[in-house]
Symmetry: C2
Subunit: 253 residues, 2 copies
């Protein structure tokens, strides 16, 4: 299954790369989740669906754009064709494709793959088998307040709590692509990643990263401090706090 996800990610990479130089920011209508779909999202999604079709559509598809495609399969591919669309269109080299395979809820996801489309780095995980960055095992880091790196969604829509955390961290950063920021916590680059804002973040942005983070030794919680669970659905959204070192949760909640 990871091989199929790699192939799909490669197809997205090629599709987006082939359109470089074009204006990919035209809005193409509204996605199933109410977010405007831009041309780059559409191109990426088409590449995913085509690749899946070449393989006989072995998975259903849940997407922000196309809603739910029932291929009569047991498992569903949860996709964010372009995570970090704003970055991609602005020329900020930080955006990805995020792919997860599960049945009905976040906790039954069995496979996850995130490909950084700006530099090619691939994170992947199979449930129970650890997490990997470009094929090498990754794990979360132990929290050290003097060297803390917190990834925080900030801005006018953010909960004041986010600014408190930004004042607590040695380094407070925000890169603007949720799946890659979860991967940064999973790989021990950051201690924490929180989005507590309106609108909340979508399931499709979190599905692959949540598995990868958990397999690397971290955990993702809702803002009440319970382990995050989400049902598969194009409109599913939640706030969350992802940490590498679980003892950090008590300090921030």
């Amino acid at each position: 299954m990871i091989g199929l996800l790699e192939e799909i990610a490669e197809a997205v990479h090629l599709a987006v790369r082939d359109r470089e130089g074009e204006d990919l920011s035209a809005e193409m209508g509204m996605g199933a989740d109410g977010t405007p779909t831009q041309k780059i999202d559409r191109i990426a999604e088409e590449a995913i669906l085509e690749t899946l079709n070449e393989h006989g559509n072995p998975l259903n598809v849940l997407s922000e754009e196309a809603d739910f495609i029932d291929n009569g399969a047991e498992q569903t591919l949860v996709i964010d064709p372009i995570d970090g669309t704003y970055n991609a269109l602005a020329g900020i080299p930080f955006y990805s494709v995020s792919l997860a395979v599960g049945k009905e809820v976040m906790s039954d996801i069995e496979f996850g793959l995130i490909r950084d489309l700006a530099n090619g780095t691939v994170y992947h995980s199979e449930k129970g088998r650890g997490a990997y960055k470009d094929g090498s095992p990754i794990k979360v880091k132990e929290y050290d307040p003097d060297k803390s790196v917190f990834l925080l969604y900030l801005g006018s829509n953010a909960n004041p709590k986010a600014f408190e955390l930004a004042a607590m961290a040695r380094r407070a950063r925000n890169y603007g692509a949720a799946s890659l920021e979860l991967a940064m916590v999973a790989s021990g680059v950051a201690d924490l990643y929180m989005v507590d804002a309106e609108p909340m973040i979508r399931l499709v942005d979190l599905a692959a990263g949540a598995l990868i983070l958990r397999e690397a030794g971290g955990e993702i919680y809702n803002t009440d401090g319970d382990v995050l669970e989400m049902r598969f659905g194009p409109r599913e959204r939640s706030n969350f706090i992802a940490v590498g070192d679980k003892k950090l949760l008590d300090e921030v909640i």
Copy 2:
């Protein structure tokens, strides 16, 4: 002169790339500015000095690591061999080499070049001749509060003012490499970039970016709202607010 700077940046790129996979985080002692020098900084600086030497040392050199090298030249090359060392060592694809040529102060800088070492993008400027990204002209964007992007240094060392701005922006981001973040304002990707923190930021981080931003139509101010001026010196530091649209300064100061 821009050709020489391009050649120097290429030498840094090759030197760093050739050492990929090694642990480049060993501390190599203290730089002239009191910041620990890491192996990657040393490797990059050596590549710069070698390239300059091959050309007969036509410039003096001001560096965070080596302090001031007097080659008896009229002009001085102000270098930050690796801007974003933390990112480079953590595997975050956002770090650069920053090169500027001037005499004594920021305002007499005539040439600036910044190369993104993660993806190869080059920003350059010659005073009076505009600013360029990979050879194409760039300019700042007009401020629109509904689409605002503020780059803000946050964390435990930041002035509370920074958190106020983070709550005001539609998007608040921090990528952790000053020269590239100045280039993001210059190229219209962001409206503002502010560092108001202790310790303040170094001249060597700002020299090239300040010229590029000014040539793209923006301005860099100190936190009193005066146009920023800095003397060349390895220990020179300042806080600053860089904006694309000058009318934004009144709203944030």
